[in-house]
């Protein structure tokens, strides 16, 4: 369903997503509580983060039911941010390297 007549969906779907977000938040807090470290920690953090963000956008913000012209106009521009983040992390590695070389005691 889409269009200007508004978004009407069964309440059940909101309650399920709400519960799911609670579970995912508990799990991501669990990552810290259990003190996982290294790759396992970072992977779990990212997985739970992406799932939570995805459900909020898709269901609570109704993106699933919007027309493609709107979803694509909103969801594709942030992809350039991934390029930006990649560039900045490459640069950060370089800066860290030079700092180690020149500032090391």
């Amino acid at each position: 369903m889409s269009g200007s007549d508004g978004q009407q969906h069964p309440i059940k779907i909101y309650l399920w997503i709400w519960l799911l977000l609670f579970v995912l938040s508990t799990l991501s807090y669990g990552v810290d509580y259990m003190a996982f470290q290294g790759m396992l920690r970072w992977t779990l953090i990212l997985v739970f983060m992406v799932l939570k963000a995805g459900f909020i956008i898709a269901i609570f913000m109704h993106m699933t039911w919007e027309r493609w012209s709107l979803s694509l106009a909103i969801l594709t521009p942030p992809l350039v941010l991934l390029v930006f983040i990649t560039l900045m992390s490459i640069e950060a590695n370089y800066t860290f390297g030079t700092r180690l070389t020149f500032f090391a005691t």
């Binding site: 269009g3 997503i17 709400w18 012209s69 900045m88 992390s89």
Partner: protein, 228 residues
């Protein structure tokens, strides 16, 4: 609304005139209310702002040669003598998730034209928002007064910790505060019956988009600043 502004739609002109015809013609790209489309575009711009903050945080954290303070320890609370890591932040996360849930229900009841339920749920959402900001104020006070964190340094490690923390959570807190005011205004208009008269509860959904976005940003801050 007609598909095109020219008198004869089939007549396609060339050159600059054709360019203006194609781009400035009265065509509708988004089959959604203009308020909703504009709110989405605003949220897109806000996404870029928060990404810039989080990216600069990533950069200072990656480049510093001094160890980064452990957020799990910095934000730990002691309850009944038990040391619980990140407790306050976890509570704040659950509060914001709850407020997102009540807001989604408010939007739903709006389209069912259930005025009372919308007002109650929106007031509940705003109250969750207020308690979130209150906890944030407590957290800031604890960090500034007890832990001695300043934007230019702190006793626990890398000096950039304070600047990143105050900038990112401060900007998010302002968004929550602004959202509480925004929700209160819309809730008041719902209560007054404005949308029953116009027969259109779209304004509630648009306010809901903003509120869910604030929750969405917190998901990323929680992951990258507090958990990483």
């Amino acid at each position: 609304m007609s598909d095109t502004a020219v008198a004869n739609p089939t007549e396609l002109r060339d050159g600059v005139s054709g360019f203006t015809q194609d781009w400035a013609a009265d065509k509708q790209a988004f089959h959604a209310p203009w308020g909703k489309a504009m709110m989405w575009i605003f949220l897109l711009s806000d996404t870029f702002i928060f990404t810039c903050f989080l990216t600069s945080y990533m950069k200072v954290r990656m480049t510093t040669t001094v160890p980064w303070p452990n957020p799990s320890e910095v934000f730990a609370l002691t309850v009944n003598g038990n040391h619980v890591p990140l407790l306050l932040i976890a509570i704040m996360t659950f509060i914001l998730i709850s407020s997102s849930g009540t807001m989604a229900m408010a939007v739903n009841f709006g389209y069912r034209k259930n005025r009372k339920a919308v007002v109650c749920l929106m007031v509940a959402t705003a109250l969750f928002g207020v308690s979130f900001v209150g906890m944030q104020a407590f957290e800031w006070t604890k960090l500034i007064v007890e832990e001695g964190v300043r934007p230019w340094g702190n006793p626990m490690g890398a000096a950039q910790f304070g600047a990143s923390f105050f900038m990112i959570t401060g900007f998010h807190g302002l968004h929550v505060s602004g959202g509480v005011i925004y929700l209160s205004i819309i809730a008041f208009k719902v209560w007054r019956g404005d949308y029953d008269r116009s027969g259109n509860y779209e304004a509630v959904e648009i306010a809901g988009l903003y509120w869910h976005f604030v929750d969405l940003v917190w998901v990323f801050i929680f992951a990258f600043f507090y958990l990483w």
